[in-house]
């Protein structure tokens, strides 16, 4: 069911984005219903402050409204594009607050609770589909050795470079590079094993 659902979802997203580009606010509303929670949750995970996450979520959808015409479906999924904008805006916000996030802010998700599979009140087929994808990545992250997982988290949610992660954790630079590279490869394999195509 996964690939067919995925194909339909992607086609729908592409059509909705085109409608947004044509000035159809009802299409934007539908995309918010579909991805608003994912955008807000990612922003909240990075900035750790609900009010700022709310502001960022608004900014993401305002940018979608303004720049929907620049989305090119041949270069990747819409969800990846939208969440990529979210991550960039959130990381920029964090960098604006401080030169770099502090260690205490970044390592708290080493806690297993960060990957709880909570009831996400999937009240639509779209939400259920997103939950399936989320469950796949959560299960894959859980299977990574903790040092690999931590390094990837610091890179992705903290926006830190190899060197910054090495300094933060007190590990050699080569070790950090290896952990991220091996961890990412392992994630690809685990996702593929769950039927999530990585291409």
């Amino acid at each position: 069911m996964g690939s067919e659902r995925l194909a339909n979802q992607e086609i729908e997203d592409t059509f909705l984005v085109q409608r947004v580009a044509n000035g159809d606010s009802s299409a934007l509303e539908k995309l918010y219903d579909r991805y608003g929670q994912a955008v807000y949750s990612l922003a909240l995970r990075i900035v750790r402050e609900p009010g700022t996450a709310e502001d960022l979520t608004q900014e993401v959808f305002v940018r979608l409204w303004r720049y929907a015409g620049t989305y090119d479906s041949t270069r990747g999924r819409f969800s990846g594009w939208l969440l990529g904008i979210t991550r960039n805006l959130a990381l920029n916000e964090v960098r604006r607050w401080q030169s770099r996030p502090q260690k205490a802010d970044l390592v708290t998700d080493d806690d297993e609770r960060a990957y709880e599979l909570v009831d996400e009140s999937a009240d639509s087929a779209e939400a259920a589909w997103l939950n399936i994808r989320r469950e796949a990545i959560v299960q894959a992250m859980r299977q990574l050795p903790a040092p690999q997982r931590r390094a990837i988290e610091l890179a992705f949610f903290g926006g830190l470079t190899h060197l910054e992660i090495a300094n933060l954790l007190g590990d050699p630079l080569g070790t950090i590079k290896s952990r991220i590279r091996i961890g990412m490869q392992r994630l690809k394999q685990l996702l593929l094993a769950q039927g999530i195509e990585a291409d």
Binding site: I11, R45, V62, G84, Y115, E126, H162, K177, R181
Partner: protein, 277 residues
Amino acid sequence: MADTSHQTEKHVEDQIDAYALGILEDEAAAEVERHLEHCNQCQRALRQAREVTSMLSLAPKQVAPPLHLKQRILSRIAQEEGQRRPETRTSAAPERRTHAEPDESTPPDIAIQLPDAPSTRRGWKRWVDRMVSGRSTAPAAVGPQGTSPTPTGEHLETILRLLHSPHAAMWELAGTPEAPRAHARLLGSPEERTAILLVQGLEPLPPGRDYQLWFLREGKPVGSAIFDVRQNGQGQLMVRAPRQLAHYDLAAITPEPAGGSPGPTGPIVIAGELKAA
């Protein structure tokens, strides 16, 4: 884009994951980008890495945004839209065809309704025999915009050609969550532009609305047949794509204002891939 002229250059696959994560130092990132310009292998690796980073975006514990946020965003959009009108959005509307290719700029076809057309290839042969011999007793359905429902000689010839073509294919199109009980089949040949569309399980539309078929290539839609279904949710019609069907990778159906739209405006109710037969 081929790799051949740069075979001596070292691949950057060991840095692709870090590049996709956006954590390479500027100099290293620039080196990766230079290599990516001409290396298909590393471009593939980057696509795979980006799929993983896209999935990582979903990993955080999901938290419902405040209920007022949606309205706040829509209000902001409305405010912005009011400030920009009329020079931007309104003038942009007629440009919806920018995605269409030059030879696809003709108005969409009005579909030819085929009364009581069957749903299997074998049934089609019997149906064609009836039509050719003039023994059809099917009541004349009224097509959109007064189109005659009676197949012409050209249409019958098309059907016959498809039925006898070694390349004929039947593509399955599935209902989306907007119309979960709907589905359709497209009988055609990848080498031809004409096909027969069989639809089931679609809700008849109210006056002022029509269904429209779209063919998509790399996510870009081009309009085709406009039609409605009968009270039983079924429709059978002949459709024409702007190019050979092999040119497209997907087909989709949306409800649109009567007469169709230059670009899709309604939700997709049926969609499916047009894989090679």
